[in-house]
Amino acid sequence: MVEIMVGAAILAIIGGMVANWFVMQRRYQKRILEMSDAQQSIRQASWNMIQELRTARNLIYPRLNADKSIKSDTMTVFKNFSGDIVCYYHYPETGEIRRCVVPNDSGAPIIDTKPIATRIDKVAFTSHDLGNRLLGIYLESGNTVGLESVYLLNE
């Protein structure tokens, strides 16, 4: 009887240790996966926006403040190479960045059916220079951050 109890106790300790290890690994893996997803979201958001912004003609908003200090907002508006007015904006409720286009010719604004990026917690578009050609982009997803800038080539 004593042997069985000692054996059971040893088995329980070893089993507990193994189970605990698996639970810890699962949590760790979940955290790593979240970090990887966040990184992917930030990379995707940056890439999609930078591609269009780089070839944009004119940054309409944000612009430097009257006292020449930098200005940030959760949206940016610019005129693209075809003359359309394009807006990127953050929708905090769903964590999405969306794109809206006001066509150059007549027509209602069109919001893209698919968001530019998802799972984005914070966004800031910042105007950095007097010429309105340099736009800073700050993105936050979970504990992962992204800091980018784009220089408009076609103004």
């Binding site: 200090s69 800031a124 910042t126 950095h128 340099l134 951050v145 980018e148 220089y151």
Partner: protein
């Protein structure tokens, strides 16, 4: 000798085999985690270098000079990273990368000790035409190792 029970040698052998199996499995999990962190840091460094390169294109040509390694967090105003945000309509809302104003970004930069440096070489073509060849270095620390990301851009005076 009672053959129905396990001997100490058999138990020790069984435990040794179990440990031999568990050790590679453990290291496999930790390696995949390190890979994700490495990839995150590398992507971030590439983005920082891109950011600096874009700012250099908007800077006055004569202001582009060598810069020794400088921290990105808790650093003085520099035109690349500080101030970084401002949601107000005047100077009062300027945010710099420090623990109180940008805690998430500051924590990440501090943990990995991200720094940047510029090395500038001038090439003159006469008649005032010049090109600056700028090497942008981003350095950081990762599990005790010094890491570096380097990129080059050229800025023309005209």
């Amino acid at each position: 000798m009672n053959r129905r029970a396990l001997s100490l040698t058999e138990v020790i052998l069984a435990l040794a085999i179990a440990v031999m199996v568990m050790v590679p499995v453990t290291s496999m999990f930790s390696t995949s985690g390190q890979q994700v962190q490495k990839s995150r840091n590398f992507s971030f460094a590439a983005a920082l270098a891109r950011r600096i390169s874009q700012h250099l294109m908007a800077m006055p040509f004569e202001d582009i000079v060598d810069l020794p390694g400088q921290s990105i967090h808790d650093a003085p105003d520099d035109g690349f990273f500080n101030p970084v945000l401002n949601f107000a309509n005047d100077q009062s809302g300027l945010k710099r990368i420090n623990a109180s104003e940008m805690p998430t970004l500051h924590g990440f930069l501090e943990m990995n000790d991200f720094k940047y440096a510029l090395s500038v070489s001038n090439v003159s073509f006469g008649a005032g035409d010049e090109i600056k060849s700028i090497a942008i270095f981003i350095t950081w620390k990762e599990t005790g190792r010094d890491m570096i990301y380097r990129t080059h851009i050229y800025v023309s005076s005209v």
